[in-house]
């Protein structure tokens, strides 16, 4: 079981886009920049003309750690926590987990692609290595 986010008007697209297989990132319709975490103003040009946009879900591992500590009794370890730099949303980094491979098979620079794990009404974006 994962801790889940409280959904609100700004983060709902990010956390539920997975229902449609889409990773949705807040995007500025004026300067074409991306804004994450999602806010109602563009951090690049201060435009308020922003809305969530589906991106490819491809990314590169910026850095990572193998977590060995069970932070609560039901946590299964080890697992990988990684910062994923999204390939087509410059400047956006998402902390996530790398799944579908051995924890020892993860490295900085690896190409990854999003998969979604549903828990209640939330679709959590996780990443798998691109084969």
């Amino acid at each position: 079981m994962r801790a889940l986010p409280r959904l609100d008007s700004l983060n709902r697209d990010f956390w539920t886009g997975g229902e449609h297989g889409e990773l949705r990132i807040m995007h500025c319709n004026d300067c074409d920049g991306y804004i994450h975490p999602p806010r109602p103003v563009c951090r690049h040009c201060l435009s308020e003309n922003v809305s969530a946009k589906a991106v490819s879900g491809r990314g590169v591992i910026d850095t990572y750690t193998i977590n060995h500590q069970a932070w609560h009794p039901k946590m299964e370890v080890p697992f990988v926590i990684a910062r994923v730099a999204l390939s087509d949303a410059p400047g956006v980094i998402i902390t996530s987990n790398i799944i579908g491979c051995s924890v020892d098979d993860v490295d900085i620079g690896d190409e990854v692609s999003v998969v979604f794990e549903q828990q209640d009404d939330v679709f959590i974006p996780l990443f798998e290595k691109v084969k």
Partner: protein, 388 residues
């Protein structure tokens, strides 16, 4: 600038440091206040300001159980200025705020404190309940759903970059913990007073690769106080004043998951732009080590070595040892002295500059020291100098 407009650290104090202490955290704070007042030769009536970090945190009382308004009320302080909050450039930001207040004439003597009761609170959940919500929000929503629940996992990712990009080894990183534990043996108040060997370090269980158990500090119960005094009030003080020669702090992206790089680098660079001192003038460094890797990046950020060279800089440990050219965390740091949460570093810098370190006093006649807090997305650095 005349000395009148400077800010000084005068009295300093510290409670007992322990785990699951029976003493109420407000009383731990009073212990530290009394020690600081006695050293400065000040009475509580002369205190007209209070500053703390992060203020009382009701949902995590053990993390910060004593609010500044509570302390003001408990001690009968007539405050002209006070502050306490977490939205500041990390723990020692409370001292930066106090220094700014005395330099602008808003107060003459400000009690700055940080009280922690994390071990005691965990042992007594009835009195110190953790308030949990069904769902997370704010910055936590970007880490908690991925089970990145501890700062250890956030710092570890920056550390992994150093491993992969610069070849940082476990043997090099170990020198922070080994140095801390060696120094704590000479600090009667330190929480952990047992030596640590390289073999023990290397065989310790991993917490979050590359950080092992000994790279992390431990929850503690303690209070640390520093009194910040105005230059034109310094003749009221009995102890040797320590001048705050420069201050710097920074935040870019507050959330760890978005911070591209660590705030210790920008903060370290800015510190030197605000003073004529240079790294070569520094006699000792007290660098935030809630996780060992943070201290290593502070060494780089403050310019004692190049970015990426921190591992080589501390290799073997002799350079940062008590008798080395740049003694580090002479009280044991947070890793060995206890999780005093930032204030322990400023406290120890003053101890060393006054020559009051006892068995752990560094050689020579130290006149310049650095104390830092934070180092992840938030950071604060203080350059402290003794003029006489």
């Amino acid at each position: 600038m005349t000395m009148r407009n400077e800010a000084f650290i005068t009295g300093i104090g510290q409670s007992e440091i322990g785990r699951k202490l029976a003493r109420h955290p407000l009383l731990l704070t009073v212990d530290a206040v009394k020690e600081a007042l006695a050293e400065a030769g000040l009475s509580i009536e002369q205190i007209d300001g209070v500053s703390t970090y992060p203020g009382r945190v009701p949902q995590m009382l053990g993390f910060s159980p004593v609010g500044s308004d509570e302390l003001i009320d408990a001690l009968g302080i007539k405050a002209k200025w006070y502050a306490g909050g977490g939205e500041i450039s990390s723990q020692l930001g409370a001292i930066v705020a106090a220094a700014s207040a005395v330099r602008t004439g808003q107060a003459r003597h400000v009690i700055c404190y940080r009280t922690v009761y994390e071990a005691g609170a965990m042992a007594n959940p009835a009195e110190y309940p953790m308030m949990r919500r069904d769902r997370v929000d704010g910055n936590s929503q970007w880490t908690a759903p991925f089970n990145a629940l501890s700062a250890a996992t956030w710092v570890a990712q920056y550390a992994m970059r150093h491993v992969k990009k610069y070849g940082l080894t476990r043997e090099q990183l170990a020198q922070i913990a080994l140095t801390d534990r060696a120094n704590a043996l000479l600090n009667p108040r330190a929480l952990v007073r047992e030596p640590l060997s390289m073999d023990e370090y290397l065989s310790a269980r991993m917490v979050s690769d590359p950080l092992c158990l000994y790279d992390c500090d431990r929850h503690s119960d303690a209070s640390t106080v520093l009194i910040v005094s105005a230059g034109d009030a310094i003749d009221e003080v009995r102890c040797t004043p320590v001048r705050i020669a420069a201050m710097a702090g920074s935040v870019d992206r507050h959330s760890w998951d978005q911070a591209e790089w660590m705030a210790s680098y920008a903060t370290g660079r800015d510190l030197w732009q605000r003073t004529d001192y240079t790294p070569a003038d520094v006699d000792t460094v007290q660098l935030y080590d809630g996780f060992s890797f943070l201290a290593l990046t502070w060494l780089e950020g403050l310019g004692f070595c190049e970015v990426g060279e921190g591992g080589k800089f501390i290799e073997g440990g002799s350079r940062i040892a008590l008798d080395g050219e740049l003694p580090l965390n002479t009280f044991g740091g947070q890793i060995a002295a206890g999780r005093l949460h930032g204030f322990g570093f400023a406290h120890e810098a003053v101890v060393q500059l006054r020559g009051l370190g006892g068995e752990r006093q560094i050689n020579g006649d130290p006149k310049v020291a650095i104390a830092t807090s934070g180092g992840g997305p938030l950071a604060t650095a203080l350059l402290l100098a003794r003029d006489a």
